[in-house]
Symmetry: C2
Subunit: 346 residues, 2 copies
C-alpha cells in the first residue's frame, strides 16, 4: 500500500533542500538539510554516545516552534562546528531585512555528528576544525531534487563493521497521499548486512531492488547472529532525519523520530549500543494537511520505520571507493556481482 | 555463539521466581517476578500509552538502588492495583523481623499493565478491581524453574492484531557464561506474525524450533507490509522484563532495557505506536560477576535484543484457547499443522 514517490529521496518531501560537501583527503564531510519555512521538529536520541548540538530545544516542552536546518557531519564532537557555517550562511540570506530585524534573527540549527576520526583520512587540521567551512558550503550547495548517495556529505568517511558505511535516503507515499522520507548516515558499531554475506537486515522492506534485490535468507546461522562490532570498541553512529509533509505538533514529530529508531533497530544489528550515538531528528515541513484521523497518522508512522530501514541499506549499498589507501571494502567491491536480481540467495 | 541455558525461561537467571495467576472468566491475569535479593533495575518506556506504577524511581539519578519485584498485569490502569497484593505478600514475609524494622520496611515493586478490557471477558467487577488479590496470589505462587507460557498470567487476555497474544520467555548464555533472559507479554497494537501468514517477525533469531521453525520468507509482498492494527484503535502493549545475572549499575540496567526495546522493534510490526504502552524493565540479579570488559558487556546487550524478540514470538506461538465465546484464533488454531519443521516456507 506504500508507493514510492519521485526520486526515492528525502527531497521528495516538499520544502526540504539537501546539500552535501566532502573532503576526500580528510575522508569526512557535511550534509545540510534546509527548510523553506521553519519546520516543526523534535528528536529521539537513545544511543549511548551521542554527539549533538541544540538537541535539548527539540523536546516538546521547549518553546522553539520551528527550526531552519538540520546538519549531519563527520568529525565526532569537533564536527559540531558545522552548525556555525550553516548559521553564517543563513544569516547572510537575511541581508535584505531591515537592520534591527536582521541583527536579532537567530537561525535555529540542530546537528548530530558521527565518529570518523579513525578511517585513514588526514585529520591533522591545525587549530580549528574544517567543519564550519564545510557547513557553510553544504548550506550553499543545498538544492531540491536529486542528490547522490553513498560516499558523500556526512557519509564520506562512514564505516560499519565489515564494510564501508555511507549516506542513504528513501521515501514513501502513504494511502492518504502524505510523503514520508528518511535520510540516514550509517556509521554503526554494528552491521547493516547479515553475517559475512551480502544480504541486508532491511531486506523485508526493500522496494524495486533499491539495494540489490537479494531478499532475506530463510534461515540464519549461528555465525550470522554472532556479535560483530568495530575493532577496539571504536565509537559508531547511525544518524539522520525522518521527515513528512504532514502538519505535525512537536510531540508528534518526536513520536515520528521514535518510530524511525525502530527502523534503525531493524536495519542495524546490534543497534543502540553504549558506543553508538544513534540519533534521529523528526521533521514536519507542513506542506500537507495534518493527519485527519488516527489511521492516517498511524500510516505515516508505519512508513517512518520502513523508510528509515531502507535508507540505511541504501547508504551502505551505494558506497563508492575513496582515493588513497583502502580502509574497508564497499558493498559493491565485495558483492557487486550479485546486484539487481542476478542472484536469489533467499 | 549464544547457547540456550536450561529451560529457555527467565527463571534461568539465578535469583528470579515467577508466579502466574489468571481468571479465565474475566480473561485477565497477573504475573509476578520476585527477586531473592533487591535487584538493580531501570527501564525503557517509549510507548505512547504506558500504564506504569513506580517507573520514575527507576531512572538512574533516583536513589532507590534495589527492587523486590516486577509485576505485569492485564486490566489497563485498573490492573496497577496488582502491586498492592504483591506488596502485601512481601510485607507478610517480613513477619519475623523485629517490630520497628518490620513496620518501616517498604517493598519496592514496579509494574506495567496492558489493555485487555475488550476481549470478551467479564469485566463487571464491582467497586474494586480484582487485581490486588490476583497480585497477592501471583506473589504466593512464584517459584523457580519451569512455568507455562502463552495464555497464562498477564498474557491470559492478551491479543495482537490477527491472533491471540500471550506470555513468552526465552533465555541465552553469552560466551562469558552470563545468562540473559526475557519475559514478554504480547498485546501489541501491531502484529508479531508477518501479513496473513504463519511466519514470525522474530524468525531470524529463532533457536531450536522454539516457535515452529518456519524460518523467514525470502521476499515480502505489499500485503505483508501493509498496516495492520487493532480495530477501533484499541490500545495495545508489549510489556516485559529483560534480566541478567551479571552485576550491573542502574544506568547499565537502563541500557539493557533499551536494547530489549530493539527486540520489540524486531518482533512486532509496527511497534511503539501512540496507542502502544510498550515498556521493558531491565533487571540485574547480581549472581554473576560484573562484565569484565566492553566485549563481555556488549555480548550481554546483543543477547538482550535477541531473547526479547524470541520471547515475543513464543508468547504468541504458545497461546491456547480460552473457555467460552472465541475472541480471536490462537496461532495453533490457525497454523498448528505447520509446526516443528513439518513445513519449510522460507
Amino acid at each position: 500500500m506504500i508507493s514510492r514517490p519521485r526520486n526515492n529521496l528525502i527531497t521528495d518531501v516538499p520544502g526540504i533542500r539537501v546539500g552535501n560537501v566532502q573532503n576526500l583527503d580528510q575522508r569526512t564531510g557535511v550534509t545540510a538539510l534546509l527548510f523553506d519555512q521553519p519546520a516543526v521538529a523534535s528528536g529521539s536520541f537513545p544511543g549511548g554516545a551521542p554527539a549533538l548540538r541544540e538537541s535539548a530545544l527539540l523536546e516538546p516542552e521547549m518553546i522553539v516552534s520551528g527550526i531552519d536546518a538540520v546538519v549531519l557531519s563527520g568529525g565526532s564532537t569537533y564536527g559540531l562546528d558545522a552548525t556555525s557555517g550553516v548559521q553564517a550562511w543563513l544569516r547572510e540570506q537575511a541581508a535584505h531585512l531591515p537592520i534591527p530585524e536582521k541583527q536579532v534573527r537567530v537561525p535555529i540549527v540542530v546537528q548530530a555528528s558521527l565518529f570518523d576520526l579513525v578511517n585513514g583520512g588526514d585529520k591533522d587540521w591545525g587549530r580549528y576544525s574544517p567543519y564550519a567551512e564545510l557547513g557553510y558550503q553544504a548550506a550553499q550547495a543545498a538544492q531540491n531534487g536529486d542528490f547522490a548517495l553513498g560516499t558523500t556529505g556526512a557519509g564520506t568517511g562512514a564505516t560499519t563493521t565489515p564494510l564501508r558505511g555511507g549516506l542513504g535516503s528513501a521515501s514513501a507515499m502513504t494511502p492518504s497521499g502524505h510523503t514520508v522520507a528518511a535520510l540516514m548516515v550509517v556509521n554503526a558499531v554494528g552491521t547493516a548486512t547479515i553475517g559475512d554475506g551480502p544480504h541486508f537486515w532491511s531486506a523485508p522492506f526493500e522496494q524495486d531492488n533499491e539495494f540489490g534485490g537479494l531478499g532475506f535468507p530463510s534461515r540464519l546461522t549461528e555465525n550470522d547472529l554472532r556479535l560483530r562490532m568495530k575493532p577496539n570498541y571504536v565509537a559508531g553512529t547511525t544518524i539522520g532525519v525522518i521527515a513528512t509533509d504532514a502538519i505535525l505538533t512537536k510531540a508528534e514529530a518526536k513520536r515520528l523520530a521514535i518510530l524511525a529508531q525502530d527502523g534503525i533497530a531493524r536495519g542495524v544489528f546490534p543497534a543502540h549500543l553504549p558506543q553508538d550515538g544513534d540519533a534521529v531528528f523528526g521533521v514536519s515541513t507542513g506542506h500537507a494537511p495534518a493527519p485527519a484521523s488516527v489511521e492516517v497518522w498511524t500510516e505515516i508512522l508505519h512508513a517512518a520505520t520502513q523508510v528509515t530501514a531502507r535508507a540505511i541499506a541504501r547508504g551502505v549499498y551505494e558506497a563508492s571507493p575513496l582515493p588513497g589507501e583502502p580502509f574497508l571494502p564497499t558493498w559493491s567491491e565485495r558483492f557487486g556481482a550479485l546486484k539487481q536480481g542476478n542472484a536469489n540467495h533467499g
